[in-house]
Amino acid sequence: MRVAVEQIINGLTIGSFYALIALGYSMVYGILKLINFVHGDFFTLGSYLGYTILIFAAAFITAHFGLWGGIVCAMLVAALCLALTGLVVERIAYRPIYPAGRLPAVVSALGASIVLQNAIMVIWGPRYQAYPAPMIPNLHLLFFGINITLLQVVILVFSFVLMGILYYIIQKTLFGASVRAMALDRDTASLMGIDFNRVILFIFTLGPALGAVTGVMVGMYYRQISFTMGWNYGLKAFTATILGGIGNIPGAMFGGLLLGVLEMLGAAYISAAWKDVFVFIILILVLIFRPTGIFGETTAEKV
């Protein structure tokens, strides 16, 4: 029982990583019907930027704002840089290609992913980098015999707050309704006076920024980052996106959390070495039996 609860908490932690990354895929797919392969590398780049900030600015920032101040600063800077990167990539890799249709755009996305990944390798080197240990809170908490770290609590709370904010924006505000309308039917949304480019601006800044914040959290959680990790996380997050119904914002959140929990339970009770295999078995099963995702048509609002 104790193991199960701990694994569920671990699963929710990595699940919230998947969920936050999945949101980026889902939003872009909803609007452009494009699988934004470069999104995993946005996440990686965010993680490396956070790493660099923590390494170089750690002493200074921490002296002025404390440990948490340093972490928040790393996340903010990484998020801002990635919001900018997202816009630049959209301009260069996608915008000129929209008129050519969806397949060329997917190829362009793959190309952008390769470019970004290699750029990261050139800048930071091909070896693993380690997040600076002194910059990471290291406190274990015990609740009723259940072992959980302070970092996990912070990650979970922060991730849920972020997801809650995004959920609110998308589901409850007029702007969110305009994004959902654009995802449903671009022409009719334009007839409402909604500016397509505003929606593009939103998804290509917010998605990468969320990815960057997640990258920093992953760096703190696992300590080690590599320039290829975007592929692995990207693939998991994409699976989560499919699980929840691609294009569906609440679905992406739920899919990510579910995937994390399943992965961790599988690792604990079946085989840790095969945990990635479960993920893809789940993906294949969903694709076979429920291709529209768990939330199916009923709530499948393609954002």
Binding site: A177, S190, L191, M192, G193, D195
Partner: protein, 254 residues
């Protein structure tokens, strides 16, 4: 009455297809003008060109003296032209309220004006008030049509473009929709009305144009058109097609 919109020698092409081949028409403020024509004549293309959804290949569209060519659709709405598209196109997984609020998207900073516009829409279509929290996709076809028109009214347009508002509605509902179109016009909104229901359209419009294969063939006042023998034969006659279209969902894709 001053000129509201003037379309001059409008050409629209889709790849190799020439959908409009030099169409010129005008509409004065306060008018209802009908554009009639068979399937594929180019009626929707005309409205979509005014709304900025399809690029103009040649010719001009002047709205209150300013050109609409090359202005993006969302700006055109802001300038006072809104469209209720063919086939309703309500946002099915959004609520009725959300659909209406999006109709006023360009007016979102003017909260009071938006509230007034909404009250007016609810007055015209009381059923929408009852259903305001329902998902638009769960409305009946007639209710969806009302929502589509109501949504287009939310921006308080000067010019309302209606693309086949009676399409697929039962006769009794057709009458109601036309009564409401008249009411909207009486309240000061000019209307460019695309219809296949020529009889109804001409009994509410002041003038009409007949579009055939991308060109205007006949134009005139509603009375002239109604008494024109060619039109009587082609558009007002026995019309088995009209009856089929009037009773159910049209199988035609948009």
């Amino acid at each position: 009455m001053p000129l509201l919109i003037a379309i001059e020698d409008l050409h629209i092409t889709y790849g190799a297809i020439e959908a409009l081949k030099g169409v010129s028409l005008s509409l004065d403020e306060g008018e209802i003008v009908a554009v009639l024509g068979a399937n594929g004549a180019g009626k929707s293309t005309l409205l979509n060109a005014v709304s900025g959804l399809v690029p103009v290949a040649r010719g001009r569209i002047m709205f209150r003296g300013a050109p609409l060519n090359n202005i993006p659709p969302h700006e055109i709405v802001r300038m006072g032209v809104s469209q209720s598209p063919e086939g309703r196109k309500v946002f099915s997984t959004l609520t009725v309220d959300e659909n209406l609020d999006l109709g006023a998207y360009t007016q979102r900073k003017h909260i009071q004006a938006t509230a007034k516009a909404k009250a007016r829409v609810f007055e015209l279509f009381p059923i929408l008030r009852e259903r305001h929290r329902q998902l638009a996709g769960t409305l009946s076809g007639g209710e969806q049509q009302m929502l589509a028109i109501g949504r287009a009214l939310m921006s308080s347009p000067r010019l309302l473009l209606l693309d086949e508002p009676s399409l697929g509605l039962a006769p009794i509902l057709v009458n109601r929709i036309f009564t409401i179109i008249r009411e909207i016009n009486d309240q000061g909104t000019s209307i460019l009305l695309v219809e296949q229901n020529a009889r109804k359209a001409l009994s509410h419009a002041s003038r009409g144009y007949i579009l055939e294969n991308g060109s205007l063939s006949i134009s005139g006042t509603a009375a002239e058109l109604k008494s024109n023998s060619k039109i009587q034969e082609a558009y007002l006659g026995g019309s088995a097609i009209r009856k089929r279209r009037g009773t159910g969902e049209s199988p035609k894709s948009p």
